[in-house]
């Protein structure tokens, strides 16, 4: 935060400090002090004379040192500008974090290198001291200075990517580093603020919090910011105008996507472990029992109808059936049209399958296509007795001859397709969640010079 040493009360653990009222007392009667502006003669009012060191004349925007006998001018600002208008009017009071605050000062600061600017609102409560509201691209942070010094490297040195500052067991990662200068001021401040004054600043984030360090002279002031919803501020201060439009992902946006991705990832792992164990169980339990072995004959280049196999049992539980058909085809085909028939109620499961095998040689050598065996599966066959009716047909350009074929029926085979499809289904949402998280985090870090995400503009293509 801008400014020198904290002139207000202790912020940390203030609720436990014996001399600080636990229940917020009624606000004191204002003891305003008035004087004539040294620059333009307009009347200037100081609402909190005991705490304020600088005030800005609302007429000519000169910053006045109120501790000076002659009300020395700290800086002048020629003409007002409509570019910087506080979204929360000075003097507005509102309740945030259980305490009532009054907006007494408004600052616009900018990064001297990039000219990127943001707004800061100085809040004051006579019992609890000072706080800040910082607004950047429509996103807000509630800030307090802290007395404790985090474990961090010297702010004078340009930080390395990934450099951390540690406080209360949390690690904050370097986000910004540069010089922040005051561009515009309004209201009262607890230090002699001047337009154009600048501080070396470093920001570290652990969303939704940000640790900021500012070097003012030889002293380094640390502050802790926390993301706060704009609607909460709008409602608290009863602001009538709309707040600045929100754009981009702020540095301190609560990491809801990251949290969701972590939780979903953990759930996905549990589901996959369960799925794998279940698949192992079903595979081990599958008896892969052969219930029918039927051998028949067919004449090539002819049809044969109405072959019926003996009755066989499909066991005493609902399971799948695998029908394998073998024939010694060679550059020929053997076609079976059949039906699995329940001997009790006549339910039929019609099927058809071709067995084909072709081979030869060409300029590349030997080639082959097809197989002498074909398989098909039928799901969820109820228990009971069954038989198979088949018609056969074949084609063999070589000759007409008698050939043998065989049909094998097996039951209770493991199904691997279910495992892969279920795995795919379980991974869709985690992949989406990861993509959403990555997108938000990359957007969060897009405004930082220390982003752990690669800059898309740095990709080069070579042809």
């Amino acid at each position: 935060m801008a400014g020198k040493e904290e002139a207000g009360k202790e912020e940390e653990e203030e609720a436990d400090t014996p001399d600080v009222p636990k229940k917020e007392p009624a606000p004191p009667k204002p003891q305003a002090k008035m004087f004539a502006c040294t620059a333009c003669g307009a009347s200037v009012t100081i609402k909190y004379p005991g705490a304020t060191m600088a005030v800005v004349c609302s007429s000519c925007n000169s910053t006045i040192d109120v501790t000076s006998e002659n009300y020395r001018i700290l800086s002048t600002y020629v003409g007002k500008t409509s570019l910087f208008k506080p979204s929360i009017p000075l003097g507005a009071r509102g309740k945030l974090k259980g305490k009532t605050w009054e907006v007494i000062g408004f600052l616009v600061r900018e990064d001297t290198a990039s000219k990127y600017f943001w707004s800061e609102y100085l809040l004051f409560n006579p019992y609890y001291g000072y706080r800040w509201l910082v607004e950047d691209k429509g996103h807000w942070n509630f800030v307090r200075t802290i007395k404790r010094k985090p474990d961090a490297k010297n702010i004078n040195q340009y930080p390395a990517k990934g450099q951390l500052a540690k406080l209360d067991g949390k690690n904050y990662q370097i986000y910004n580093y540069g010089t922040a200068a005051v561009k515009y001021v309004l209201g009262e401040f607890y230090w002699r603020v001047t337009v154009g004054s600048s501080n070396l600043a470093a920001d570290y984030i652990d969303p939704p919090q940000m640790l900021s360090a500012e070097k003012d002279g030889k002293e380094i002031v640390w502050s802790l910011a926390e993301y706060i919803d704009a609607k909460e501020i709008h409602k608290a201060f009863k602001v009538t105008d709309k707040f600045p439009y929100q754009s981009g992902v702020p540095a301190t946006k609560p990491p809801t996507e990251l949290k969701a991705c972590t939780q979903i990832g953990s759930l996905c792992a549990v589901f996959i472990i369960f799925l794998t164990c279940a698949q192992f169980y079903f595979t081990a339990k599958a008896s892969q029992q052969t219930v029918l072995q039927y051998d028949g004959t067919f004449i090539t280049n002819s049809k044969k109808a109405d072959i019926t196999t003996p009755v066989f049992s499909m066991g005493d539980e609902t399971t799948n059936a695998v029908i394998s058909i073998s024939a010694p085809v060679s550059n020929s085909w053997f076609y079976v049209s059949g039906e699995l028939v329940n001997d009790t109620d006549g339910t039929t499961y019609p099927f058809e399958k071709s067995v084909e095998y072709y081979s030869g040689t060409d300029s590349d050598g030997f080639w082959s296509e097809g197989s002498n065996t074909a398989q098909l599966g039928i799901s969820s066959i109820p228990p009971g007795k069954y038989y198979i009716n088949i018609d056969t047909e074949s084609g063999d350009f070589l000759q007409t001859r008698v050939q043998q074929f065989s049909i094998t029926v097996g039951r209770n085979y493991p199904i691997y397709d279910n495992y892969w499809w279920t795995l795919f289904g379980l991974c869709v949402i985690p992949l989406y969640s990861f993509a959403a998280m990555h997108s938000v985090e990359a957007a969060r870090w897009s405004n930082s010079d220390f982003s752990p995400y690669p800059d898309p503009e740095s990709y080069t293509e070579s042809y």
Partner: protein, 46 residues
């Protein structure tokens, strides 16, 4: 989204277990299902 995924995951795993117990291939574009016989005329039924 986490709660939605929890529900979806439990449903998918339940479906997998149900299919595994009944020998049912969940995604089978060429699935063969049972049909009642329509009467004499096609195949011989005992």
């Amino acid at each position: 989204m986490t709660r939605f995924y929890l529900v979806t995951g439990i449903l998918l795993c339940s479906l997998f277990v149900y299919a595994g117990m009944r020998g049912w291939k969940i995604i089978d574009p060429w699935a063969i299902s049972g049909a009642r016989p329509t009467g004499p005329g096609s195949h011989y039924h005992k």
